[in-house]
Symmetry: D3
Subunit: 248 residues, 6 copies
Amino acid sequence: MRIHIVAPITTPGLSGISDFAPYANPETSLTHDILDSGPASLESRFDEALAVPDLLRKFIVAREEGADAAVIDCMTDPGMGAAREATGMLVLGAAQTSIMVASLLAHDFSIVTTSAAVVPVLADLVTVYGLSDKLRSIRSVEVPVLDLHDEERLRTALFAQSLAAVRDDGAHAVVFGCTGMRGWADAIREHLAAEGYPGIPVIDPAPTTLKIAEALSELGLAPSQRSYPAPTRRTAVGYEDLALSEAR
Amino acid sequence: MRIHIVAPITTPGLSGISDFAPYANPETSLTHDILDSGPASLESRFDEALAVPDLLRKFIVAREEGADAAVIDCMTDPGMGAAREATGMLVLGAAQTSIMVASLLAHDFSIVTTSAAVVPVLADLVTVYGLSDKLRSIRSVEVPVLDLHDEERLRTALFAQSLAAVRDDGAHAVVFGCTGMRGWADAIREHLAAEGYPGIPVIDPAPTTLKIAEALSELGLAPSQRSYPAPTRRTAVGYEDLALSEAR
Amino acid sequence: MRIHIVAPITTPGLSGISDFAPYANPETSLTHDILDSGPASLESRFDEALAVPDLLRKFIVAREEGADAAVIDCMTDPGMGAAREATGMLVLGAAQTSIMVASLLAHDFSIVTTSAAVVPVLADLVTVYGLSDKLRSIRSVEVPVLDLHDEERLRTALFAQSLAAVRDDGAHAVVFGCTGMRGWADAIREHLAAEGYPGIPVIDPAPTTLKIAEALSELGLAPSQRSYPAPTRRTAVGYEDLALSEAR
Amino acid sequence: MRIHIVAPITTPGLSGISDFAPYANPETSLTHDILDSGPASLESRFDEALAVPDLLRKFIVAREEGADAAVIDCMTDPGMGAAREATGMLVLGAAQTSIMVASLLAHDFSIVTTSAAVVPVLADLVTVYGLSDKLRSIRSVEVPVLDLHDEERLRTALFAQSLAAVRDDGAHAVVFGCTGMRGWADAIREHLAAEGYPGIPVIDPAPTTLKIAEALSELGLAPSQRSYPAPTRRTAVGYEDLALSEAR
Amino acid sequence: MRIHIVAPITTPGLSGISDFAPYANPETSLTHDILDSGPASLESRFDEALAVPDLLRKFIVAREEGADAAVIDCMTDPGMGAAREATGMLVLGAAQTSIMVASLLAHDFSIVTTSAAVVPVLADLVTVYGLSDKLRSIRSVEVPVLDLHDEERLRTALFAQSLAAVRDDGAHAVVFGCTGMRGWADAIREHLAAEGYPGIPVIDPAPTTLKIAEALSELGLAPSQRSYPAPTRRTAVGYEDLALSEAR
Amino acid sequence: MRIHIVAPITTPGLSGISDFAPYANPETSLTHDILDSGPASLESRFDEALAVPDLLRKFIVAREEGADAAVIDCMTDPGMGAAREATGMLVLGAAQTSIMVASLLAHDFSIVTTSAAVVPVLADLVTVYGLSDKLRSIRSVEVPVLDLHDEERLRTALFAQSLAAVRDDGAHAVVFGCTGMRGWADAIREHLAAEGYPGIPVIDPAPTTLKIAEALSELGLAPSQRSYPAPTRRTAVGYEDLALSEAR
């Protein structure tokens, strides 16, 4: 099985295959890419709009080259529907997958994301995915994506907002609202336990999405073609390099 | 007051200023454009993804040139959130505006659109806009957008699906699910009356959106900056011509 | 086009044509009235019950005299459904219209009204209108309607509750919960901006409802007769002066 | 315990104390009235608007004369909120009480009412009462209230619509949508059983509401004064005879 | 009429017929039981699972001995659906009945229960019963069921949490989240009034459920057999003493 | 990793390890059991009540013996919450897991189950799991669980109901409503494609739940202890063999 991961940003070093490889099954072959054109990071609907065309290109090529499934390494699931239409492939977004997993494990959940700007975007996604009754709150750490490498700043803010989500908003699980927060789940879980809230699942979206992609792919499942039909139009003016093959 | 209308497609002749001018207030100055790059028509999420970058470019330029408000002449509201972020301007989408108007006039409504492929897209929009409790059904005429000029075919299908929405699904109002269906509201209303359902509002999205844009613009209203904050990042790799000005 | 506005109260001076005229289109002819019988102001369901018969009388007469549309100058939309049934005319209530406009502009909204007594009444209206998922909170300034002329008291309370709605409840827009609060939108918006929340739409219900009435009326739209059918019974014992004409 | 029942109509003979007495507890004292002014029957929002003032008068007087609780013998619950505000008394509406009872007994329910005109009115009530997820459908027999005495016509239509609600809409219980349908519950239940649907609860709203009024009254329960506060204004111009006493 | 009450616990003295007799109608014959096998008290889903088999046995026997209706004296409604299936009898759970009564009396309500452990259990019940839009909050006093006899501890905690539900969460009514809190309704109501919240209904689940059971039983109502069909299988391995009679 | 599967029935041969082994990862160690005491099959809430105690016993023992995760091989998820409380282990139910997977792949889904008797049970589960907005319909094949081995009967009924779910109810995916229907997914998908509905995901609950259990277990995820706290009471009268160890 081959899974292609794309981080819909142009900045190198924020997402890499090494973030996923430790979680993959031995039989899984991973490939990974970032964008050639698009935003440095994805923190607004404007960023998202400019990330999607090249993201689609990456997925169309990967499918032609034999990918079985794909993961969008971003918590606003940019282009997920279009990519499913364009490739017919199992394309999973980190947001949809993570909140489904949180709902499997807990009565309800909160999301802790990077900035207030994406809160309404995430809220709308949760609504579209049908799980708004399970959403307690969306909080933000107010750390720009390109500053997430500042460990001390991120730890302090993640600890504070995760604890507030659990203590003040009553959340039974926490979902990171940015895949760039990867690696912090254990620390948050321990912090919450130390503060009197043991056993709170903390969902790290990137590895979670990979594992669900493996599971569904092994089951032979793909997106509904009724929900995501193959486009009748195969390309667009100015996007001739992005034309859909006859295969789909 | 100046309102800029963009049809997010590249095919000339499907949408023009003459579709809107008869409805405009005398004080309103209208401008209109279609896309330079993008899909021939918008009938999938894939089409939508490739329409949005140039649509944003059109709105950013219009704002710089003094537009007060903007109308997206399409029923999937492509790029609406991104355009509000990028320009701060009152940008109205035909879908959101039309279903709000339908909800003002009737207990509930059905949408009659072009093809089954966009039904889940429209259903998700209604959900995000908060009005799913008011939605009776979404039906499709199965006429491709580029064939909407075939009057006889469209009339037959529109009559049949609108009647089914009212008679079988119980709708109290009908909303056209494609702005390309413009001009058919009176005929449908009369057909429904002749079939025993008088006084059913039939919402023609394009003029409806224009009139609400005028009304809100005259009230000095603009989108919430909390919902649609100005992007902190002003451009993206490969989209340098689309950079946001300092003004926003 | 002629629009008839009625404030469903008997106290002169609280609502007048001059509150609306500055917002009207040049082509719009406005008429305005208050009640001959009914409550001094409308602050309970009891008040509302006693306001509706004379309000209906006013609208029936206005329709007979040629009105094209009507506005109920009150945020509980008293008699709106009955007036639509009785006249077939485009009758808009300030509550329904204002929250639809707020939903067009923002991810969600709060209402700031006069007293706690009307909070459940407004909450039920929002639910019936289908927008409860967009409602963040309803707050009250605890200023009786007949004291709204006390500018200092009102300003202080409106500032405090609007800020609390935005800061504590997270609202993306604010809707006044009483048409008698007219004229305060700009001040509140500036206050919110000064407190760190720029670009929050503040909806002043009375002018907003007038502008939407103009827009829908120019589009030739009227309420659904399936939702608001003409009553089969034309009058009632003790209300002979309120008999419906043959015309409807 | 004394319970006052009012049918909010002026036509004698449609509702009487004998409709309720067989169901009352031995300790319950029943009184009953119809309106002096108002509609002949209640089949529109227009009818409802003209029924409420005299209905309030009846309840206010009954309270002053010692009534402990009150029943509105009508399925649109006219004036229920206002009557609770005006009297502080346990005032139950047939609609709210009946659908709550249906929800206690069955997974979901349908309502079978008199005419299509009241379908949206009832739908809105179910929504306000919070039980729309339990509502399968609302059907109508298209028999005017004043013709409900035509047994054969009513039986045929009630049988047909109740069966359709259960067989086609999947309802697990049936609620009559007009208190004037009283007495038909056993016949409908037997008809449904004969058609292959045994054990479907059929709720007859008038006696059901009486029994719940007795139960809640014996428990000493009254409406929440936070939901239905005593009006600060005690009367209205033209309704001086309807002034609220100091007692409330 | 004979009503059988079972407290699904094995500890004697926590629930007795004397808790119900003062509320019963003179014509009602009450019987009461606790479990022979099961948990000492019911404070988790684990407890609930082990309470249900013997609870069913009690109800099956009671039905065979002529009971007309049954009350589950517990706020998680353990075994309610199974008991309705097994006996066809009117079996009411304290949770469903109490929240329906609260919804009849108030715009919304909060539940005050014993411990945080049952909060998600109660939240799920409210959701299944269709009333989640009416639920403001669920709070807990953190007093184990077997300590509820400690009056001072319970009073202090009940006062604090009920007041917080009303003042901080905005509840219009309070429902006890454990039938073991019986007898405290008047004290809480007076405490809330003293704190500035007069007229807040406080629902004591045990007597409330009894009275509604009487009312529905007198109306001849029973659970829908479509919702709760008689089991086709009459017993289970290891539960031969619990076999269903031919009668059902 | 060791996953313990229990089918909550006493009939041998309906569920076995060979149903799961072909889907397991090479690293996964599977164990499997049925009940010693409980119903022959699980087709009512009554059956469910009598299955749960022994099911809990099986899971508690499995946990003590080192199981990492558990699967309930049944579509009503009997005892799932209690088992999570009692063991702290990742216990997945087939219903919750399957509908989450369906929601990941399609806009909405229908369930096709064995008999009408379990339809309201499944409907309530979907509601509790928060996905009722995604549920199109629940249909039944009316084949008792113990007759599911009758291939021809099952094929005919499954084909008919699956097609009706897609064609008449508009479902975008189909979920089997009984784990005993295992093995039919490919045939149904092909049948739907042949009837004009290609690419409809058909979810086979048993293998799907196993694969998600593997994925979540490899991620180190367990149920929220806030949603499913360890019971404070460790056993119950008559269930001494089922006492919880000190370890949890």
